[in-house]
Symmetry: C2
Subunit: 439 residues, 2 copies
């Protein structure tokens, strides 16, 4: 029997297209795996077994007539519960006062559906996609956080409950949980994937995020979701030669743990040995003030979105998002404008750096997934990529002494997704990470 729940999108899509596997069988495999591991992992807010099986049956009927809807025909997907999907409540992690019953799909879900994806259900999100933990556990070690805010999407893909899921990243909410959970996490250039129909945290910084178990899969999903890319393109053109990789050490040297830095150096040395050019690069002047500026933008945008709801339900807000909104309500416009100016400066100053390298290489998080659930972990190493709106991807790169996944982050300039994915595919081949969580 084919281990359907461990297949990648590309493997599963090939099987469905050739008739070896049905969409119904794929969905059933996912549901069976969910039955087995969900009680421990708790990645889902809602699983719509009947809806998913019904959709899969219709897709199988199409397939028998030779009709395939798109690149994701019959592929199961999980959706972070800040994305609208017709017929499912969107809770945004605050079901008691902030749920909505959308009449239409979010743009991203509409694109997935049009490409043939089958929605399995909604995955957990921290409240309003900020920093207050969910109930979700890390599949590699149930006593550790899976990261956040896209906790359920990362854990569900890592635990082989679904081949891919969508999340979001405002600061580090996609790449960090992907890293903690040993899977691939990708966010594209800000604005390339529509966030319409997704509960905002901070409009200036919100990105749709993609969780998969391979770079190829991430490229497929990106090509379906990206507004301005024709479906099927954007797959990451294979590199003609090993990549030139810059290490912007100033962006993580003061933050990343010693083990994580040693691991990055080992990975860099291994890439060098395989022919890559790997050198340290200086960070631009604005990098020193970027984090504070990004936080000002975050709280200003978040307070603007939440102001009315917060006035009515302040007591219902969990502590971290509550503190963020309160700080945002007190922020002067002048601080916000200055912060946005620093972001613009950073974008400008990074351009000549991006022009010299195929991608920049750095850790995704200062440590492996922290123990406990007080925190979803430190997003600060993902933050420059979110504040700049630049595409970035997290690749699993090994296991630490604690048997939790390690990861490396690759980033490139705005609009350079194709090159970034080409580099990521090269790096993925060298890393050859094949671990799976002990579930």
């Amino acid at each position: 029997m084919i281990p359907l729940d461990t297949l990648t999108i590309s493997e599963l899509a090939r099987g469905i297209r050739s008739g070896v596997v049905s969409a119904v069988a794929a969905v059933e495999a996912c549901l069976a795996r969910i039955d087995g591991v969900e009680p421990a992992v708790r990645a889902w807010v809602h699983v719509d077994a009947a809806g998913a099986l019904g959709a899969a049956k219709a897709l199988d009927a199409d397939a028998r007539r030779g009709v395939f809807r798109g690149l994701l025909h019959g592929i199961p997907v999980g959706l972070k519960d800040i994305f609208d999907a017709t017929g499912m409540t969107t809770t945004s992690g605050a079901p008691s006062f902030a749920h909505r019953h959308p009449g239409a799909d979010s743009d991203a879900m509409a694109r997935l559906r049009a490409a043939g994806a089958v929605l399995i259900g909604k995955t957990t999100t921290t409240e309003f996609a900020y920093a207050d933990s969910t109930v979700t556990r890390n599949p590699w070690n149930l006593e550790h956080t899976p990261g956040g805010s896209s906790s359920g999407s990362a854990a569900a893909v890592a635990a082989r409950m679904i081949p891919f899921a969508l999340g979001s990243q405002t600061i580090g909410s996609t790449l960090r949980p992907a890293a903690y959970c040993g899977i691939v996490g990708l966010k594209a250039t800000h604005g390339l994937i529509s966030a319409d129909g997704v509960t905002p945290l901070a409009w200036s910084l919100d990105h749709v995020g993609i969780f998969t178990r391979s770079v190829d899969d991430a490229a497929i999903v990106l090509s379906v979701l990206a507004g301005s890319m024709p479906a099927g393109s954007g797959g990451g053109t294979p590199l003609a030669r090993p990549p030139r990789l810059g290490i912007p050490r100033a962006l993580f040297a003061g933050t990343a743990g010693r083990d994580v830095q040693a691991h990055l150096d080992a990975v860099a040395a291994m890439f060098s040995g395989a022919g890559a050019i790997v050198e340290d690069v200086a960070a631009p002047p604005s990098a020193a003030v970027l984090h504070d500026a990004g936080q000002v933008v975050l709280r200003g945008d978040a307070a603007a979105y939440h102001a009315a709801q917060f006035a009515a339900h302040a007591d219902g807000y969990r502590p971290k998002i509550r503190g963020l909104v309160e700080a945002g309500l007190k922020t002067p416009a002048v601080d916000y404008v200055n912060a946005q100016r620093i972001r613009s400066q950073f974008k400008r100053e990074m351009q000549p750096i991006f022009a010299q390298w195929d991608a920049l290489l750095m850790p995704v998080a200062p440590t492996t997934a922290p123990r406990g659930f007080e925190t979803t972990g430190d997003p600060s190493l993902c933050a420059p990529w979110s504040y700049g709106g630049f595409p970035s991807i997290s690749l699993p790169s090994g296991l630490a002494g604690d048997r939790l996944p390690l990861a490396v982050q690759l980033g490139a300039g705005a609009g350079a997704e194709d090159r970034l994915l080409g580099v990521a595919r090269w790096c993925e081949g060298r890393l050859a990470f094949a671990g799976a969580p002990p579930l």
Copy 2:
């Protein structure tokens, strides 16, 4: 003798290129005209006769060797005194505490110089390009305002002291004075022309503005200044058929005076008679709240730029700019974010409207140039184009009963400069405005 001071850029450039006219003769003609009318008009902060003649001599020497620097070889220009030009003080209209001695040209001036333009000097600007009047008079009637904030640039071009000038438009600071002074005023899509080296009023809204006496000339200057357009392009492709023009009556019906609305209707009827399709179009929902939103963005950006200088020199600020900065310093970030969201909504909502029309047609200002100098006039009809960042152009369209110029405004979607200029050229041909101020 050739009346050099009344020639357009294209006429003068042809003359210089063919050797009929020299750059020195062109500069001398401008200087003579300045000698004659500047005491009455007061358009200049500084005229650099020696520098201009020296530059013109060098250009003539080049021309004799068959070397032409670019489209503006030997063409005199005036620069609003918020633009940096090497060797000249930039006062920004507040010489007592805000002047600077720039070490480099603003990006726009550098492009003009590289194309062969000869800088005659700096023209008056309201203090920090806001609403406190300058000393400049309207050449059509010296008891009336020329408009602002680009008062000197508009008046100098209208009074035939120079063939073209640069100004800026944050709300209505280019098209309004162009309309009041009976000349052509153009601003391009926000960001298309670099504003680096120009004193900001509000980064989100600041546009470089172009003052000329014909649409052809505006197109030439735009092609020199626009970052992403190859020099010589962007000239406004001639229309294959009369244009389709939409009149967004809701944007001006409550504001424009009866005479101005009657004039617009007469112009529209004349265009219709010449084959144009002219119909009323509805304004989108966001238009109703756009003006308030734009004002919030204006004051937030202005306060962020001025905060430090204002703390040291508050008493030196004139009343209107002072009030603006004070209001901006008190504005919460949440209001600013909401205001920017409304601007984004307006941009989105205008797209389907722009898609249906070659351009939109409306008045530039509610009245002709007001009498006196208490106000620089009402910019609110220019404001939607500035808030949306859309290209717009003002064309002189007749004289009112008071012998002051009337004008019509054409606007199009972001990036549609070529089409807008094509429409403007067609309209200019039908309007056939040939008036000149009685100086």
